[in-house]
């Protein structure tokens, strides 16, 4: 194996009462890739992602980050470990400015007395860094001082993605980031996801949208019946075969070897 694993999960199990949501699922994320996670409803896709992002604690199994075992009890633990998650429902504060949203919870204070005693925010520095950050990611938003609610849905999602990318040290997880968006806006976000990867951060992309998955993913993790059914190579396998693997119409054994990744 050439590329190192950034994040790995082995034999994850999560039960909710009588229901077993994931039954020994494995997961591997390589450095610098976009890994799409797909699966039918109830395949254990969201439970897997919740374990990785700290939203739930798995009953069994282990999660490794850069080879070290980690135990997340809350999303905040995961965030401290350098994993940022972008949620589907536009997790931004609408009446606050873009710059404020980018730095929410990680505000920069002024140097010296003003910052340490009066606890004054360094709005200028946050604004400058926001502008630089958005230029890096080529997000074309004119003013960082405008309220997020003045933006389109796609632009808002770009703000959420940019925030995650700015603060993630290891992994960015995106849960259906394009689901609520139109075609053009969705493409804008996809483009941004590619740029985040190109800057060196591996991305886990959960999506129902097959064309989107095939457009950006380097590998596709297919969740089925609480396990990982296969990891596919989108350059070799067709969209319809992928759906067949996802639904079980094509058993994992019968997938041609060159289509696996």
């Amino acid at each position: 194996m050439s590329t190192p694993l950034v994040m790995q999960a082995k034999g994850l199990v999560k039960r909710y009462g009588q229901v077993t949501a994931i039954a020994g699922a494995d997961f591997e994320l390589r450095a610098g890739e976009i890994l799409a996670v797909i699966g039918d409803n109830g395949a254990g896709k969201s439970s897997l992602i919740k374990c990785l992002s700290g939203a739930t604690v798995p009953d069994e199994g282990e999660i490794l980050l850069d080879g070290q075992p980690v135990h997340f009890k809350t999303p905040i633990d995961a965030r401290r470990a350098g994993i940022e998650t972008v949620y589907q429902d536009l997790a931004v504060a609408p009446a606050m400015s873009i710059s404020e949203n980018l730095f929410l919870g990680r505000e920069l204070r002024r140097p010296g007395f003003l910052g340490s005693v009066l606890r004054m925010l360094d709005k200028k520095r946050m604004l400058d860094q926001s502008i630089a950050r958005m230029q890096d990611l080529k997000v074309g938003i004119r003013s960082m001082t405008q309220a997020v609610e003045t933006l389109s849905g796609g632009q808002r999602q770009c703000v959420a993605v940019a925030r995650a990318a700015a603060f993630a040290r290891h992994v960015v997880i995106m849960d259906e980031p394009t689901a609520a968006l139109g075609v053009k806006e969705g493409n804008m976000v996809l483009e941004l996801i590619r740029r985040v990867r190109d800057q060196g951060l591996p991305v886990v992309l959960i999506s129902h949208n097959m064309p989107h998955v095939f457009e950006v993913a380097d590998r596709i993790h297919v969740a089925r019946l609480g396990k990982r059914a296969a990891v596919l190579n989108p350059k070799k396998i067709s969209m319809s075969d992928t759906v067949a693997v996802m639904t079980g119409a094509m058993p994992a054994e019968s997938i041609p070897a060159e289509c696996l990744a």
């Binding site: 997790a91 009446a95 009066l118």
Partner: protein, 319 residues
């Protein structure tokens, strides 16, 4: 250069219009003495409104503010007269009680997850009952002079005494400046806005939203305590029936000042303007000889107009 949206400028314009109207109706309205009187009348509501603004910014509401303020006033005056505590200690006890009420409101909202409307409706009645029971519905008199010192005035300008300004008014303005600074320039203040804007998103970026909420209610209680002191200083007595007009006036002031009842939007100085609007209306109508019950009527209409403006302007902004 861009103009502030009408939402921020609106309250100020309304204040100017109200002033112009009352100036045209009464020669006495625009005198220094009367304007100073308005400021003195406004200082209690103004300080309560600071606490109320914090709560409303988090998309909550505190219906107990005026009654808690009245209880604080009774506690500090009774402690000073009946128990003979030194005035400063008695004042600290009164502020302590209002802060504890804030803590109780905050714990019920954050830990028991009750809506603030219901919680504070309960504490409104509790505070009112305790006030009446503890004071036997009697006014507390013969206060030590130190306790009413904030009601003292000093003169500015003019040679024959000039215009008298109460110390409490200065304190109110200082508290507004402080609140404005914290809300605008510090992370803690921005987090208050963030919680009101999108509590879930705020939690997910790692801000302890429950702690922010709890602190907001506690600090609001603290401000009600300072308002208790101002009320005692202004009237010179501990009045068990204080707070009844202030309760709704403070909420009216915040809403008139442009803070959204849906949380996350508003400017603290707007609440000061809102309190001044309420004060100007009460004062102006009194000068015109309008009976006080009509003043209540006008306040009611004002608050509905303000909320309607908030709602409609935000609809318009969304397109």
């Amino acid at each position: 250069m861009k103009l502030p949206p009408i939402g921020t400028l609106g309250p100020f314009l309304a204040l100017l219009v109200a002033c112009a109207f009352f100036a045209s109706q009464s020669d006495r309205f625009l005198t220094g003495g009367n304007l100073s009187l308005i400021l003195q009348q406004v200082m209690v509501v103004g300080v309560i409104a600071i606490g109320q603004t914090l709560v409303i910014l988090t998309a909550g509401i505190d219906l107990s503010c005026g009654m808690v303020m009245a209880l604080g006033g009774i506690v500090m005056t009774k402690f000073a007269t009946d128990l003979g505590l030194p005035p400063l200690l008695a004042v600290a006890c009164g502020i302590g009680v209002t802060t504890l009420f804030g803590l109780a409101n905050g714990l019920l909202v954050t830990r028991v997850k009750l809506p603030s409307f219901i919680v504070t409706l309960g504490t409104l009645n509790i505070a009112f009952a305790i006030t009446q029971l503890y004071s036997n519905s009697q006014t507390v008199t013969d206060l030590p002079p130190l306790m009413t010192a904030l009601g003292n005035t000093f003169a500015i300008g003019g040679k024959d005494g000039g215009t008298e300004v109460a110390l409490g008014t200065v304190l109110m303005l200082a508290l507004y400046a402080l609140a404005w600074f914290v809300l605008r320039e510090t992370a803690a203040g921005r987090h208050v806005y963030a919680v009101g804007n999108n509590a879930e998103a705020t939690r997910l970026v790692g801000i302890p939203t429950q702690r922010v909420l709890l602190m907001v209610y506690v600090i609001a209680g603290f401000f009600y305590g300072i308002a208790s002191l101002l009320s005692v200083a202004r009237t010179g007595v501990g009045d068990p029936n204080a707070g009844q007009t202030e309760n709704l006036d403070a909420i009216t002031a915040v809403v008139l000042g442009g803070t959204s009842l849906f949380g996350g939007r508003g400017i603290i100085l707007g609440s000061l303007v809102g309190a001044l609007i309420v004060g100007v209306f009460r004062n102006g109508l009194t000068l015109m000889g309008v009976s006080s019950i009509y003043q209540v009527l006008v306040t009611g209409i004002l608050v509905i107009l303000a909320v309607a403006t908030d709602q409609l302007s935000r609809k318009g902004a969304r397109g």
